[in-house]
Symmetry: C2
Subunit: 445 residues, 2 copies
């Protein structure tokens, strides 16, 4: 059996290794277009911050591919997928070659989007998607410089933090509000205050109108004002990389990514897709989305890899559990925001509490903000948001199970959570928030 | 409507306040036999350690009772519950009095058990159950003294830690192994090593045969050896306080505590029971147990209080989520241990992993130990145990939802958990452990 994987990111590598786990004899070839083997894309901002060496973030080194007898071609460019002949045409070491396949996993990833504005083609415009992007930013960022970060996503905020930690002056251009796809307005506002209190200049409700400069960007024009800067990093989202898939006749979904079924099969039976180039169903409203999360790339890559060698596994549930630590604050989200739920036609209300993690008499303590989005008709929780100093990731994971298991605010309010004065109060903030929601639901009856 | 609550601990006070929330006009009387109003029993060891002032742990001060128009009689001793006449006879300020009731909540709590051995009646034998017990231990413990702590429960370990932190030499007498009701053997062994590495002398597999001394204990005899000491703290478990209930004709369950139904009603319809004196159904194997946990006293107290004024709420699910922090290590448990599952007739296997919390390339990191107990026939998770430096309580809460929602190792292995290099690895230790279990289940097929 011959397996070809297009793409050597997290999804592609996970697919190749999962296929190998299940099938010792298959020939497995991975076509990757970067110089580096698989690395952690999510770690790039921390390498820019110099909190860890860039070369440390390789997650699947070449020798691991070799040991698993997976052929890794890199840098190699896949140029055509012929689904009739079941052959991938690619360019490697200056030559055109062909790789025949019995099953193919399309894991081409995405592009960092660049806004179409005047001056976006000047030098000094950067994005952060690849290892080399990070290497470039590491080499040019110098303390005292002024950087403009364009965007309000997790990546934008992490890059802003990284550059600030490197001693740069950082301006963040936020068109609507920070992390809008993950947080409701009140928590977005808290993120903005936090960024500002940590020295980031946030231009909210602003867009870059144009970039100015000779050879290199020397200023951006924002809200009519000219803002001098040494460089700009655009972090305004990811676009699925689908050219090859489209040309091969694979169905492209409404999101612009490759359509997949519950087994991660594309519209062409022998081709699977996973990661940032693929569309999946999120399990709250059943909407088709692109996840762009490393966790999903990993898990779905594995499912696609297994299915390519004959397994019949379903894609893992996608509840969109996400977290970041931003200047010491953990910010997380799961499921749908209020606006997303309403857009999906779900009639929701919200509850939000700020509640101490530990009993009132304990010396060290911290407040935990929890926000729940729940259906008015039955109290079912469809989303949650969390903000706190420590443990935010674990609180997101609690809420991930809550959302995925379709628990209601009643269910969460009576959950049997643990308690001990130094580690947890007798009421968990999650349960306190659920109780607040429950009271409101009961009052409406 | 007249409500009488016997007991002013967490269950009793929660019942009184919950009843008041639902019924503004009821007359509510609480009969408490301690001098103090309601306090956090779980905080007593930390007051002994002098990590917080004892007087800070009052959770419902007198003025809160007054503000809620709840009559608090203390110290007052309930002497008889007459379920025919619906009257409680009690002694208060030297006089015999009667309180008629329409509904009664029996929340008399428990006694700290004292072993029946020679010398157990000497001075220098202590227990830790009440505020005054703690005050006594605070006043007698002096650095350089030698203390013997008898027991292997959460309380025993917390008292041992507290006395060690006060500068005493501490011997811990552990009949079987530490936290046996909550941990399987491998984790018990780790707790023992941890205690020893923190300077506690653990006598495992040992029992106190007798206590020696003149007026006061001066030594214990353990395993045939004489161990000189200044005092002994017995923390060998709690016995439900049921004399009054038994005399009133309330049904006593097999556990020795007051039998209750799903609404926390006792065998006498107008009497409810909650807290350490009451029996409840744990929701994994459906066994009747006494919880002895503060969280359950609080939640069940509230349910009993509400039902006493006419609500029809079910007892909250009891999964036995527990946690402690012991010399910087968080140790938690939920559901059944392997032995408990087997005793309940459930055919289980276990999986255990030690997995880093953060990606391998992150500078600070820590290992998290997770152990899962799951049914062989379907992979359903019936219990979980956790040990780590930080976040243990939150990991227990994740597993509490997992167990309560009857998730399988497959479900947990594919859970959508969040990831960001500074807060969480792409695979959560819980999912790694579930995957290990899943592989083993699959291999057996």
């Amino acid at each position: 059996m011959r397996i070809v994987v297009v793409g050597c990111g997290t999804a592609g590598a996970s697919a190749a290794f999962a296929a190998r786990m299940l099938n010792r004899n298959a020939s497995i070839t991975v076509i990757g277009d970067e110089e580096q083997p698989t690395y952690s894309r999510c770690a790039l901002p921390f390498a820019i911050a110099q909190r860890l060496p860039l070369e440390n973030i390789i997650t699947f080194p070449e020798k691991r591919f070799a040991r698993a007898k997976i052929e890794l071609l890199k840098p190699a460019v896949a140029e055509e997928i012929d689904t009739q002949r079941c052959v991938v045409r690619y360019r490697f070491e200056g030559a055109e070659k062909e790789a025949p396949f019995d099953a193919l996993i399309y894991a081409a990833g995405g592009y960092a989007a660049v806004p179409k504005i005047d001056g976006a083609d000047l030098d000094g415009n950067y994005v952060l998607r690849t290892y080399n992007d990070a290497a470039r930013l590491i080499s040019i960022a110098k303390a005292g410089m002024t950087a403009v970060v364009n965007g309000a996503s997790f990546v934008a905020l992490e890059v802003a933090e990284a550059l600030k930690q490197r001693g740069l002056n950082v301006h963040l251009i936020v068109r609507s509000r920070p992390l809008r796809s993950f947080l409701d307005e009140p928590l977005s506002a808290q993120v903005k205050w936090h960024l500002e209190s940590c020295g980031i200049v946030v231009h909210q409700g602003a867009e870059i109108e144009r970039l100015e400069g000779g050879d290199r960007v020397s200023a951006v024009v924002v809200g009519g004002e000219r803002l001098g800067c040494d460089f700009v990093v655009h972090a305004v989202g990811t676009r699925a990389r689908v050219e090859l898939a489209r040309a091969a006749g694979l169905k492209i979904g409404k999101t612009g990514a490759v359509w997949t079924d519950s087994k991660l099969r594309t519209s062409v039976g022998v081709v699977y897709a996973a990661g940032d180039c693929a569309e999946v169903e999120e399990c709250v409203a059943g909407q088709r989305v692109v996840s762009a999360l490393g966790t999903v790339a990993m898990r779905h890559g594995m499912v696609a890899g297994r299915n390519a060698v004959g397994a019949e596994q379903n894609a893992t549930p996608f509840v969109r559990a996400t977290v970041m630590r931003l200047f010491g604050l953990e910010i997380g989200s799961v499921g749908l925001t209020e606006a997303q739920a309403k857009n999906a036609g779900i009639d929701v209300a919200t509850a939000q509490v700020k509640h101490p993690a530990l009993p009132h008499y304990w010396v060290e303590n911290e407040d935990v903000t929890v926000r729940l989005v729940y259906e008015k008709k039955n109290g079912r929780i469809v989303g949650g948001q969390v903000m706190c100093r420590t443990g935010g990731a674990l609180r997101v994971n609690i809420l991930s199970v809550v959302v995925e298991r379709r628990m209601s605010v009643y269910d969460l309010s009576v959950s049997d959570f643990c308690y001990s004065p130094p580690c947890a109060d007798v009421w968990a903030p999650e349960a306190v928030c659920a109780t607040a929601a429950l009271r409101r639901l009961e009052a409406q009856k």
